[in-house]
């Protein structure tokens, strides 16, 4: 019996890292990873890079806010250095998005496993609760929530977790329900394994293929959310740099200085692209198994 458990645990544990080890064979995934590393390194080095402070205003250059030796990417409508604000803004996104998605995953996986495994009233309760949240168009949910509880990093995490966990739960539930008909689950029952063992050792590792992809996609989507909230005026409170808010602020000058809106837009899109390319590469690799 213990040998079976060890074998099951090993086979579950073995396949997972191999995807990461085979990552270099997927050019798509490597490009995605490269973009992510670029932003991660900039975010980590932000406090030590020889840059102008992100909130310092330089009124002298407002007449010619384009690129210069002092401001490589120019300045925003308030005369603040764009390069510095973009790098600091990236740091914020890279802190908030992963924290929010990881918390959402912990809650969503637990909900989905319970619902898919036990079925019946447990499933009905979790699914109905999820349905209520999932019925809301996501942006509507964010707008109502953040407009009421106020814009801040913590509230954005709360809103993202609330909006994402039910979606993760639904994916996990669906995967678990499709796996319940499989022979290895029947075998686990015959071995009289505990429910917790079946859920965590037999079912959850077998859900990992779609979940790894979904995790990367969700990081990208959360980045979109943070940007969109900033654009709607519901992002991080000013004056701290926030990509979506920077775009919003610069749209008033888009006919004169389009670069002010376009640079933060490019930064945001590149980061999302990084997450999505990585997700795509990982999907491709997991399908080759």
């Amino acid at each position: 019996m213990s040998a079976v458990i060890t074998a099951a645990a090993e086979s579950a544990g073995r396949a997972s890292p191999s995807i990461w080890r085979r990552l270099p064979s997927s050019p798509v995934a490597m490009v995605g990873l490269g973009i992510l590393l670029f932003w991660i390194v900039l975010a980590i080095l932000a406090p030590v890079l020889p840059m102008l402070p992100p909130n310092a205003q330089d009124y002298a250059v407002l007449g010619h806010p384009g690129s210069s030796a002092k401001h490589w990417l120019g300045v925003d409508p308030l005369g603040r250095d764009l390069l510095s604000r973009i790098i600091w803004g990236g740091r914020t996104v890279l802190e908030v998005a992963p924290i929010a998605v990881i918390i959402a995953y912990a809650i969503g996986c637990a909900m989905g496993l319970l619902a898919g495994y036990y079925g019946g009233w447990v499933d009905a309760g979790i699914s109905r609760a999820s349905d209520v949240i999932l019925s809301f168009p996501v942006v509507v949910l964010y707008v109502i929530l953040i407009a009421t509880i106020g814009p801040s990093a913590v509230n954005i995490v709360v809103a993202v977790v609330l909006a994402s966990a039910p979606g993760i739960a639904r994916i996990v539930r669906g995967l678990v329900m499709s796996l319940m008909h499989q022979e290895f689950v029947a075998a686990a029952y015959l071995r009289r394994e505990t429910d917790l063992f079946v859920m965590l050792v037999e079912l959850l590792p077998n859900c990992r293929g779609p979940l790894i992809t979904d995790f990367c996609l969700r990081l990208g989507y959360t980045t979109i959310t943070i940007g969109t909230l900033g654009f709607l005026g519901l992002g991080l409170p000013p004056p701290n740099p926030d990509w979506g808010g920077m775009v919003k602020q610069a749209t008033s000058m888009i006919t004169v200085f389009p670069q002010m809106s376009l640079y933060p837009t490019i930064a945001l899109v590149s980061l999302i692209l990084g997450f999505n390319l990585l997700a795509d590469g990982v999907t491709e690799l997991s399908q080759k198994d």
Binding site: P258, L262, T265
Partner: protein
């Protein structure tokens, strides 16, 4: 199947009730703000206090929710329309009728006067977007998934990933920079009147493009993934090995099974579109439902938020029901 649909419809009604209570709970948690927002920022405090009393805003949250539900179903008269309040809020339909969403404190008009016109405008926008998204993503996704790993697949996948990675507002800004600022061929705002000199059709191009480009990329990726998965299934290999022409393999075995998952995804896109229109309508100043909801939320116009959320939720849950029923028809395994 009829029993299943009836059961789901009942669940839908409960979902709507629970969601409307949640929205009520979040937005009207501090009831004092309702009286203040109704009268405006410059009204004297005594008037606010008086309104607070007359509207019975000191009642508990469930009681106030029950009263709102009473107004909606026509059992209770809308308290804001009481002539004794001297607010001059008059709904030509009367103060007690079924479907009374109350009075919008933001627009100073009955919600039913504001809501439906906006919803119609958004339906045009979302309908046009879907008419572009569905055929485009099905064809592109199926072609890419059929030949997984081919040059075509690579190109289509890369394009669709890039499309999906551009948030609606960013795409809006980029398109405005190109077509409005640089080329001067399209208008930057879409107020749906011709006073700016641009035709309605020209005004619709950019908002529809923003919605369609973002969502088509997503749906195409789903179709592609599903198609690629089915093409790798043993029964497709069997069909190939037994000598069936490739065309037959795809039409009879692969496509039907590959479209089950995207069928759900496409119907759920309607839910995503409602969210997408909030952002798109803000970018292009489009007089639609999404922007109304954003304005109502920022203002704290509870009646309008509730009405808009209920409509959005109704559309979302109805499409969900449709997708589940369709899924059961398409996939016999799901019936068990």
């Amino acid at each position: 199947m009829t029993r299943y649909i009836l059961r789901r419809a009942a669940e839908m009604l409960i979902t709507l009730l629970v969601a409307s209570f949640l929205v009520f709970f979040v937005t009207e948690f501090s009831p004092g703000s309702v009286a203040r927002k109704t009268l405006g920022a410059y009204a004297p405090q005594e008037a606010v206090d008086l309104l607070y009393q007359k509207l019975h805003l000191n009642d508990s949250l469930p009681v106030r929710y029950a009263r709102w539900l009473g107004v909606l179903t026509g059992v209770v008269a809308d308290p804001l329309q009481d002539p004794a309040l001297k607010l001059d809020f008059v709904d030509p339909r009367g103060d007690r009728y079924f479907g009374n969403f109350g009075y919008s404190t933001l627009y100073k008009a009955p919600v039913n006067d504001v809501l439906w016109k906006r919803l119609g405008n958004t339906a045009i926008l979302a309908g046009l977007a879907l008419a572009v998204i569905v055929p485009l993503s099905l064809v592109l996704g199926a072609l890419a998934g059929m030949n997984a790993g081919s040059l075509l697949d690579r190109a289509l996948s890369t394009v669709s990933i890039v499309m999906t990675s551009i948030p609606e507002f960013a795409l809006g800004v980029v398109l405005v920079a190109i077509f409005v600022v640089w080329l001067h061929v399209l208008p930057g705002t879409s107020p749906l009147n011709t006073s700016s000199g641009w035709s309605i059709a020209q005004q619709l191009v950019l908002p529809v493009a923003v919605l369609a480009i973002y969502d088509a990329g997503y749906v195409a990726r789903m179709v592609r993934t599903s198609m690629a998965e089915v093409m790798a299934k043993p029964y497709v290999r069997t069909a190939v090995l037994k000598g069936l022409p490739r065309r037959q393999v795809i039409m009879r075995h692969a496509l039907r099974n590959a479209l089950i998952a995207p069928f759900t995804v496409i119907l759920l896109q309607i839910n995503w579109l409602i969210g997408g229109v909030v952002v798109t309508e803000l970018v292009f100043a489009y007089p639609g439902f999404g922007r109304m909801l954003l304005d109502a939320s920022l203002f704290g116009d509870v009646s309008l938020i509730e009405a808009a959320t209920l409509i959005a939720l109704f559309v979302a849950t109805a499409t969900q029901l449709l997708s589940d029923v369709g899924y059961r028809i398409l996939d016999p395994q799901a019936r068990r």
